[in-house]
Subunit: 283 residues, 2 copies
Amino acid sequence: MSPPEKKQRTEEYILYYWPGIPGRGEYVRLALEYAGIPYRENHKDVPKILTKTEKIGTPPHFAPPALQLPSGRVISQTPAILNHIGPRCGLAGVLGSKLNTLTAEGRTALRELSDEELEKAEEERSVVNQLTLTALDWCNESHDVHHPIATSLYYEEQQEAAAQAAEVFRKIRIPRWLEYFESVLASNPATEGTNEGRTYLVGKQTTTADLVLFHVLDGNLFAFPARLGQLRKSGKYDNVFALHERVKGEKGIGEYIASGRRQKFSMGLFRYYEELDGEEKET
Amino acid sequence: MSPPEKKQRTEEYILYYWPGIPGRGEYVRLALEYAGIPYRENHKDVPKILTKTEKIGTPPHFAPPALQLPSGRVISQTPAILNHIGPRCGLAGVLGSKLNTLTAEGRTALRELSDEELEKAEEERSVVNQLTLTALDWCNESHDVHHPIATSLYYEEQQEAAAQAAEVFRKIRIPRWLEYFESVLASNPATEGTNEGRTYLVGKQTTTADLVLFHVLDGNLFAFPARLGQLRKSGKYDNVFALHERVKGEKGIGEYIASGRRQKFSMGLFRYYEELDGEEKET
């Protein structure tokens, strides 16, 4: 890996993540793909960002994904990365995206914001961050269903606990997550009275929160197809499922999917175990 | 609750959180207490921020804590709140804290930053955010030890799985978390060569990451006293334990603890169950 040159700086983004699974790296990919920002992947140096003895990235990182910015600085933690590049990608809301410190034009525009605009821009960006974090919580919970006791143990070593966790997850938690995001979509004042469905979590443009929700729902559709199919049919969460369809068709995302570069779910965060899925009696 | 007046705005912060436990609300309290920023607590309206039918907070929030800003806007998700108020509290690093959009002086100073300073400030703030998120991951994992299967079930209903989770947590995970933060502290270039121990995660001033790590370690000392005592004695994590001592004595934090307002741990995120604690053979 060649370090970014100090003098003649190119806008180079490098994603450090494990190969073979979409994983949490996928959230970063989706943001960059949406915005059409070129990036390259580096699998082999992932161990180097995790230790203080190597020169890539100070401080050492707890886990990938980590993104190397054009300045050479490496940021890890999925929500921190998304919050950092959100404005640059146009994914932090209309005003929030004006807080872009990653390009010269962005920084100039940022300084031109009025006091009121600056305050509101930061608020909008934080609301996007908040909803992004909440969707990532759903992701984490989806993972913990098949690994309730410890990530370091095999599924087969905690299969009984996983079956119990999956029962609660199917019955109570999946409807709770869907209901929550449906309520956010249905109460968004910016999309009131639109005919095409209310499919934006913040304002009426795509944000990192939309992208994360899209992917987490995608993962749940993969891992719990019977239960999700049943809940989709209930008609109670139409806006959430419509968001999923809309994001799939967004320019950068549609091209990414069509390119074949988007990795398939397998044995990562989201896993399909037939015994953990199933329909539930409606209460 | 009276809404903040539009005309004569006071700098009022309102924390929405459940009464009776420190919980995740404590991370927000620590930041405000550190900075000496007055705030008031509102317990009774917590249910109102969780639903779209009420007027407090749009979008609806998934869970408390939520913080109402002087503008009237409500932000939830602990790391989003801490990232939002970090600069205002002087807790986002030297340069990162110059990204304060919450006061008129802060906004003026922000616009005066050069291109390079703006870019670096945002990076420093994101590194603080990243480490804050990592310390909060340790908090979440500490909780999941006593509730591995579902938060909606009683501990007694998942006691066997909790015992298994605690074993891995004590043996592998607590040392892993301590080792990680020790490596961050010990590789911080800003504290190289200091005599008083290397107790700052970023730069050489307190950040939200320090405060969160302090509280998570405090919670682990409460929940796993035997194991933490053993690990402290090993001498391998002296900087982490020194950070804990230092933060306890920071002006705003020391005053907060002395005031008696800081709630004690009990049956919240961090819980002491004698059967989950214990020393481990060193490998």
